[in-house]
Symmetry: C3
Subunit: 673 residues, 3 copies
């Protein structure tokens, strides 16, 4: 059995947080469990940073405290997500085996005293990981409280040490077979980098100038794969003895882990998502992150493993959430497919580097506004049981790929550092999010047949096969929207020769010969359809090879050349379309372009008119309406519905208080599509 | 005998600077001494960076030049502050013993060719220090010119090497006894940092993420203590043979040395204070620094050991002082308790890294405006003999503590990096300085009974005992003013559990549950007493538990909650008050709050009306009036006085030219309090 | 035979670029050579980064490919600039001999995988360099295609390793003879830095604070000399067998190489010059760079070895050139004395770190606007054969010196980091460039007798001999214009004692005693001649000792003191003048001052009235007129001429289209001077 089914069947929407009993005395444990029950908590993650407590000396395990903790939780009916404590080895490991600590690109070995200092390639580290996980699994696999396994924490280490260098070479040997294949893929003829054998290869350590981009790209692939090895080592030991689902918490758009390559290794996608109350774009970015992680395992319900109840502590200035925003963040996750919302952490630590991170029980204790809101939220979430297990039905796909991101944004010496992959992704996602149109973020290798509209905001590097997969969209009658600087390179970051985007020039009916980053003032673009506008950052020297020209550069070196094109494939109802945006239009123009593509694809939004500050998202038969504004809002509905959060019937007008929300259960016949 | 008494008895106000004869030929020495005499110089610091000259090879000492220098000075009646040359060991030491050079947190060993590269924990360095100091003391302890000893220079090294790691462990063993006590104090249960023995502990070297805050705090304590050991080693050798006072030059708010912990080790506090002519806040900051160093040894007269006569060279753009500002800087120091003002340095170097630092004799020689001003200042200072040895009588205390500063400003991952301890200290000090109200900066463990008003702008971490010491102020009828984010943590940076500020919630009659850094636009605060205002940076979710609410948040999440409270203790003339400011008010509002506290404490200013740009400060019976502005100013006086600087009688109105000053000797009956 | 004579005699203006056939298959070679012929390419640089291809394993050379390449080029009549491939050794070298890789100031050894990672001091590296160069020379010295040799590429490595430390000590022993001389030159009495023997000296590695400036200065000298050794080693091997000119490509104002010290080592100065289309000051800076490199070998024609045809890839945002700007950049170089213009690179790479650098053949192939412009430019350049070998006849010299630049701009702890040598140089050069007045940038040791006006914008450090050389200018009847903070130091960065500028106080008739960086708002300067203006950044406390005062500080500390002076030497037609500017005037005021000096020197501009956006430059009998603006322009000419670019006769008015240009061949009698 995989996924969250068993857990949610028993508990409804999951609710809880990281709990670190090793920081507290047993009397606090008992107070905590009572408070959890009062708050409706039904899932806690235990033991994430407990290695030094569990194994205070090599081979000597102390588990009595954990026995008691698990029994306590089980007695209270709270499920346990039991962590392998491998994110931070105890100081004794580095003391006895210095090579178990990671080394940075300058050759500096990481010290103990922080966290996550381990070298993921160290055999000694891996041996100790295996031993502690085996001990934990042997002891607790059959404990009735244990409902899920949590491997490590935010796996993300990059290490440049000699041990990792050796593993890198092994990985490269496996990938390329012989060194000539590597030399070709890495284009080592440039700058006299040809390797005569694999032994000469080292990780991209400190160098006088730019590194080989293909080498950097493969080092990122290797690093993600090596972290997956560390995960797999632990998951395998768990699965020998336990049927409970195994997961690890990821960090959505974190560059260090290619989640698409890990999809089959986790039974549940568990994500850490920290919105920033001081950043107005944060809700849209959170929704994008949710659409990403939901897409990793093809729409399967996921788990919001970590978020903050109030403020975080790691920004320079940490504005806290209001209690209203806390609830909206949770409901947004559920609306976008989460079956549970958890927090870092249950009780605020008094010491350590995160003592100023908010928690479900603050330093001032449970008799506080924050904790009262936590308790009220628990009650609210229990009313959302009808959404558990349901799917978000998306007809729009946004294409995103880790290696392409690495190649397109994280390598230096590109035409412009101002054109970034994530920024483009967010720009194309935002109008969809504002309209409440469900969108899956998927890799370019995904089965795209289920989508009426496929948007490729910025896919810098793409394999031939993936390029062909995307190109089929308009050919089969779908709508394809391609952003600038796309399909530029192959999977080794080698620029494709010919008129760009080489693999899509035909399907777009347009092709280019020069990327032209713009001076700061931008360039005027003329368009009958969208009105004249000023485009910024980027332009491309393109010609139409059959596509309709919807906008034209009006001044500058490209005056008279196409800025935006659309080729129609086929005719009539089955006609497909291929749109090509060669610049960075202003937000409203891009929104109009996306809206045109949405309409062309026959996709409709759940509501036709959404007030500013109100956010909608549909999941299954439930339409979530979230009022982020500090004013009350009225939302017109197409039909009557029932608000799951209150149990009230709602006629054609929904009134929401400031920071209020509704989860409208639509009668099946009233579905908006 | 300690302190400056013998020196000032002989010379009056001390005046002089660092003199580095090893950079010059004997003919320049003789010119210099003649110029010193003409300028009224009576104290020079000699030999600070002379180790390589004194001991050109290990164990071979060359002192003939220094014999001659001391004789020359003595012959001219100039006292010598003889330095141990230990700040910068000669290159031969690092060449023969590489481990005598410090190592940074990345493991990089410091090179020779600069200064202060030594490792303070190296036994070999310490042995060589002992040898050179012993040689110097043996030779010169009885030399009649030697009136004071100057140990090293600006002691401030932090070293992360293995030798220092070993000393750190010894220091920790002594502090904590057993490792479990350390584990508890450092909260090592967080992030699996539990140490199984002291041997596993290393300094906070390069790590992948945040360090344990308690470990960082103790490393700062250890570093300050280790530097004190280097000082003590030398002071002890000196004191075996000499009765002259021993000092070292500190750098007021320098984080590396906890001066309060060194107070009993120095006979005189000697401070280096460099104002910045391009920074309008610099005079206030200098006055604050003076109030700090005077407080270190409980008000005893101190020595301004280094300042600049014109420009410094180490800022990115070094605007020089006017000659008027040069004099005002000196008079400010005397007004705030200094019995001497010296400079870095007497004669400008032609080579080396500080060749562009101004000096009392510039490169262009003595026939220059700058040197003429230096000479005129010498004459002026001689007229201030009546202030020598007198005390600044302060009834207001400002509480400041190095470890609390470290915990509250220098550790990362706090609620906001924008709320800084020194900034808060300066904000609460400034209105007192503007009014000319004498203020001592004291540690929280100080005897506070002598103060009518005690201000705690930002005391992040505090021991239980110190917290109780502060809490007694309103209980005994004094006025206590507490700023935001105070008494948050204990001495290990562990957040105190409960409603904050936990140890003062009762005495303040108010308590809080959430620190809430503000969005950039701030928040409106409504107050009948102070008018409505916009507070910025910070707010706290607080309730009154009996205190009067003097201002209330008017919008945002905290609308309606107290922003400023005052609890009255007792009644009638003996009533104490406890004020609590939970935010960062604008400057004028904070000035009004401080003025109310001053009035409540029964403290009065020396003058009731001070023009903008004029600065006053009272020391003993002398009221200093400094006109920093470039316009002449008129100051109304309560009574007639005599201006020590001119000898003139002044009636009820004092006229000062641009950048002019007066030192008014008040008749005892005319004292303003 | 040296220089470009043989090459240009055969080919006219040289045209081509770097070609890296090792990145391509032989079919691409043949396409490339055909395209080169069509574009008028007559010179290509081959093999710059080919070491790993040439010598895939130690001692095993593969040259068949290069044989074919050279034969192909020779068959097409294209001359070859054959490179020694020593800029980037193959990975096998670092793998077998880690000490052949450079180490930075923090002790980090550079990794392979980038380029130019070699340690220039490593004997093993040098042995391998000698071997590969010898092999190349033996094989190709007699190949008829080889017309020039290109040693390495952009030599610029700085290395702090122990091998280089040993070489540094040897270099210092040779420079100073005994260590006391070094101690005196380095002023090591400051900060106890006295060395007891050379063995104690290390390069300026990571240190706790500022390094000794003289040590830094000598390290820069040593580094430049050591790179010259690497060059000389290769040039010597080449010259044993070949008479073709030897060069290496420099980077004009690159601090790492003192070109004046290399002048006699190169047969041709070959420069890499990359304008920035997004920076309006870029054309003026390029002209300044051209005037610099032309001056290195006393006006001999030089070669623009590298420029970009479109965009570069190493800025954060790389705005491309228009095709018009591409041509103007080439013509500017020729107008300023270049006999050839080449590009990096011929064909755009698909892989490697510079895959997004533009090329003469872009990724999209030859059927592109960019390549068509490259071809058209080839035809244009062939029409400029009459300028080949001719000289730029400059009567104005701008004095610049690498060691003085190092001392005055690159050492820290100066009075102001805002006053920079290159900025001052550019400020004084710009009005000359705008007027089309030919200017040579020369070292202070140059023979200045040929110049009527000598400008010294910012010569911080100067030897006595060079100072005297400059001082003779007004004495022999020339005009000397000196900028602020000049002649401050000697060649060891030691400040000269006395009234500044010490060696020129007499010739200027003015002297100063204090450098006074200004507050941000600047200072008002009053002048009858130039009108009142606001000067910024810098002021000096100066008095006139006989000079006329042309402008006076009107407020601030220096009110009433001279800001600008002029001393006249002699009388009548032979009178010389010495001007002294003590501040940073606004651009228009500085232009007026320079214009006055130009007039005083009897220098006239080629045209009296040049429209904004039009740039003129005269070389021999040809006046280049370049219209950088995006509008057409009319330029009035003093007399009829022939436009070499079109062959058309031009009467008294020249009409230029947007980004158009003319090369007017003046009848000898019509010369403007």
């Amino acid at each position: 059995m995989t996924g969250l089914d068993a857990l949610t069947a028993a508990h409804g929407v999951l609710y809880g947080g990281d709990w670190n009993p090793e920081q507290w005395t047993p009397d606090v444990w008992r107070e905590d469990v009572a408070l959890m029950c009062a708050a409706g908590v039904n899932l806690v993650s235990v033991g994430i940073f407990s290695w030094a407590t569990l194994e205070p000396e090599p081979g000597r395990f102390e588990t009595a405290w954990l026995d008691e903790v698990l029994d306590l939780l089980h007695g209270a009916g709270i499920a346990v997500d039991l962590a392998t404590p491998t994110a931070s080895p105890p100081p004794w490991l580095a003391h006895r085996h210095p090579e178990t600590s990671a080394v940075d690109a300058q050759g500096v070995r990481m010290s103990v005293g922080s966290r996550n200092h381990f070298c993921p390639g160290s055999p000694v580290y891996r041996d100790h990981v295996a031993a502690v996980v085996r001990h934990l699994v042997d002891r607790y696999a059959d404990h009735p409280a244990v409902a899920m396994w949590h491997v490590g924490n935010e796996l993300g280490q990059t290490c440049w040490c000699d041990l990792c260098a050796e593993r890198l070479r092994t990985w490269l040997r496996r990938r390329y077979g012989d060194v000539d294949a590597l030399n070709a893929a890495w284009a080592t003829a440039f700058w006299s980098q040809r390797y005569s054998c694999f032994d000469e290869i080292v990780p991209p350590r400190a160098a006088p100038y730019l590194h080989n981009p293909a080498a950097e790209l493969d080092f990122r692939r290797f690093t993600s794969d090596q972290l997956r090895d560390v995960y797999r080592l632990q998951a395998a030991i768990i699965r020998e003895r336990s049927d409970a689902p195994v997961t690890t918490n990821v960090m959505n758009f974190f560059p260090g882990v290619d989640q698409h390559a890990w999809a089959d290794d986790v039974d549940v996608v568990a994500d850490d998502c920290y919105t920033d109350p001081a950043d107005a774009s944060s809700p849209a970015r959170a929704a994008l992150a949710h659409d990403l992680v939901r897409g990793v395992r093809r729409g399967q319900p996921w788990l919001l493993m970590e978020q903050a109840a109030g403020a975080v502590n790691w920004r320079a200035h940490n504005v806290p959430k209001s209690t209203g925003a806390m609830v909206l963040d949770s409901l947004r996750a559920v609306a976008h497919g989460a079956d549970g919302v958890c927090y870092f952490q249950w009780r605020a630590s008094t010491g350590g580097a995160e003592r100023f991170h908010s928690a479900m029980v603050p330093h001032a204790g449970p008799d506080t506004d924050l904790h009262r809101a936590v308790r009220a939220q628990g009650a609210l979430l229990q009313r959302l049981r009808p959404v558990v297990g349901t799917r978000v039905d998306a007809r729009v796909a946004l294409v995103f790929d880790w290696p392409s991101w690495w190649a397109g944004e994280l390598l230096p010496a590109r035409p412009s550092m101002r054109l970034d992959v994530l920024g483009q992704l967010a720009a194309y996602h935002e109008p969809l999010w504002r309209a409440g149109i469900a969108t899956d973020v998927v890799p370019p290798s995904a089965d795209l047949d289920g989508y009426d509209l496929v948007i490729v905001p910025s896919l810098h590097a793409v394999t031939d096969a993936d390029a062909a997969n995307v190109a089929r969209v308009p050919e089969r009658g779908g709508v394809l929207l391609v952003g600038p600087f796309s399909a530029v390179a192959d999977e080794h970051a080698r620029v494709r020769r010919g008129r760009f985007p080489v693999p899509w020039a035909d399907v777009l009916g347009a092709s280019g010969e020069d990327w032209r980053p713009l001076e700061d003032e931008g360039v005027v673009v003329a368009s009958d359809r969208y009105g004249d506008f000023v485009a910024t950052t980027w332009s491309e020297h393109v010609r139409s090879d059959g596509a309709a020209v919807l906008a034209t550069y009006a001044d500058g070196d490209l005056a008279g050349r196409p800025a935006l094109t659309r080729r129609t494939h086929g005719a009539g109802d089955d006609a497909g379309q291929a749109w090509y945006v060669t610049t960075v239009p202003p937000r409203d123009v891009l929104a109009a372009v996306v809206a045109d593509c949405v309409a062309a694809a026959g996709v409709t939004a759940p509501l036709s008119d959404v007030p500013e500050g109100v956010e909608i998202a549909r999941r299954g038969d439930v339409l979530f309406v979230l009022n982020r504004s500090r004013a009350k809002q009225t939302v017109r509905l197409p039909a009557a519905a029932t608000d799951l959060l209150t149990g009230d019937a709602v006629a054609d007008e929904l009134l929401l208080p400031a920071e209020g929300a509704a989860a409208l259960h639509l009668a099946p016949t009233e579905r908006t599509r």
